[in-house]
């Protein structure tokens, strides 16, 4: 069933993300076990589920911040976690990771902007150093992105001078500047003061509705999840309990665990 990009270079792989029997263990704590799931190109998926159920781990595996302990991950028809050596699969080396990782971008809960660079430099550093853009080109693109996130006036500011909401907007612009195919969002509004959440969410709604990115989003904001996703996956103990379109999951969940979780979240 795997699409072979060499057979027809214009054919789109069937899956943008594919987890095949993925296991992840920290010490003797098995966080994910034999996890299978796929995401189609340009699909927008939200992962929900109780804290500790492994949602962040899934995103970190995709961003190559962690390594699988078993199984394989594919991105855009290419192995991410492993590479082929002869007819064997071996763990991916740094060179392989760097090539496949290009397709993935991530926005973190804590923004993680570089405090030693101003806003513009935060956005242009990787396009210049990784994509080989000229500085002018990168800066022009960065200014467009800053305009999009509503921060044109802050190009020269240092991250420390910005509010949490502004920092997260810059982090979003920084991720988009690398032109990823897949955007990973890990509870990106959880660290924000309540009055700043709506602005960042509406920015992400706009980005999601453009429809040219595959998005994998972890959030506890169910209204936001409903707005931006084609599919919601409910996780518990590293397993998919239930999945479906947001209308279905939020209004008429089948599994008791989903109902309990939604009730608990909606009460807070």
């Amino acid at each position: 069933m795997k699409a072979d990009p060499k057979a027809d270079p214009t054919a789109e792989p069937q899956y943008m993300i594919r987890f095949d029997k993925v296991g992840k263990r920290y010490g003797d704590h098995q966080v994910l076990r034999d996890l299978d799931f796929t995401v189609r190109p340009r699909e927008r998926c939200t992962l929900i589920g109780p804290s500790g159920s492994g949602k962040t781990t899934i995103l970190r595996l995709l961003m190559t911040l962690e390594r699988v302990t078993s199984g394989t991950i594919e991105v855009d028809g290419e192995l991410l976690s492993h590479m082929r050596r002869g007819d064997r699969l071996v763990p991916a080396d740094e060179k392989h990771l760097r090539r496949v990782r290009r397709k993935v971008g991530m926005v973190f809960q804590q923004f993680n902007l570089f405090p030693n660079m101003n806003v513009l430099r935060n956005i242009t550093e990787a396009p210049v150093r990784v994509l080989g853009r000229s500085r002018e080109e990168a800066e022009q693109r960065a200014m467009e992105l800053l305009e999009m996130v509503g921060l044109s006036g802050k190009a020269d500011a240092h991250p420390g001078r910005l509010s949490g909401g502004q920092q997260q907007r810059v982090a979003i612009a920084r991720a988009l500047a690398m032109e990823p195919e897949i955007l990973l969002l890990d509870e990106v509004t959880s660290a924000l003061d309540p009055e700043l959440v709506a602005g960042v969410q509406s920015l992400l709604r706009d980005i999601a509705s453009e429809g040219n990115l595959t998005i994998l989003c972890v959030t506890h904001e169910m209204n936001f999840a409903r707005d931006i996703s084609d599919r919601v996956l409910m996780f518990d103990h590293g397993q998919i309990v239930e999945e479906g379109p947001p209308e279905k999951i939020f209004s008429d969940p089948v599994e008791q665990r989903t109902r309990d979780f939604l009730q608990a979240v909606l009460q807070t």
Binding site: M63, T64, L65, E94, R98, R101, R102, V104, G105, M106, F108, Q110, N112, L113, F114, P115, N116, M117, E125, A126, R129, V130, R174, A175, M178
Partner: protein
Amino acid sequence: MTWDWGRAGEIAPELFTTGLKVTAQATLGAAVLAFLLGLVLALALRAPTRWVRLPVRVLIELIRSTPLLAQLFILYYVLPSALGITMGALTTGIVGLGVHYACYTAEVYRAGIDNVPKGQWEAAVALNLPRLRVWTSVILPQAVRKVLPALGNNLIGIFKESPQLALITVVDVLGLARQLGSEDFRYLEPLTLAGLFFLVVAIPSSILVRRLERRLES
């Protein structure tokens, strides 16, 4: 013994030209060496293989747990005959003082590097920055900024310990003061001037470092 202004005025020019030049050369030379070599050692302490980490750790512990005087002695009097390397006294002093302080400075850098939040590394990976670039653009600028006051303290330390180079015949401000005193056994003026000189440099420097510390904290 009473203070003689005339004599003080007589020796001051020589003390603060010839002597000062040697002190400045020793201090700055050793500091440059310490700050560069210290960084190399700090990075070596994080090398992926322990065949690099272990020898570096041993070297650092060895140098930090023996007196500078002993190291200078070995460098100047033992190594040349053992290995056939000869360096001038001042060069030997700069190397000895610089390597000695490099081992302290390595720990300073290490603390600074460890202090950079994990999220910074992760953001750098997420942006696919090459390894070397992660160090030069993200980690080191933040780490060095955090430890600037500690580097300043090491610089002051090097300055204050530079008179120890007298053991290997380097004549700095203090050494010259002793020589001038020994000519007619009138030590009061030269030694007082030399002492004052160290005070006048060290105290404002310490205040500056303290200020820098406070500014970086806020």
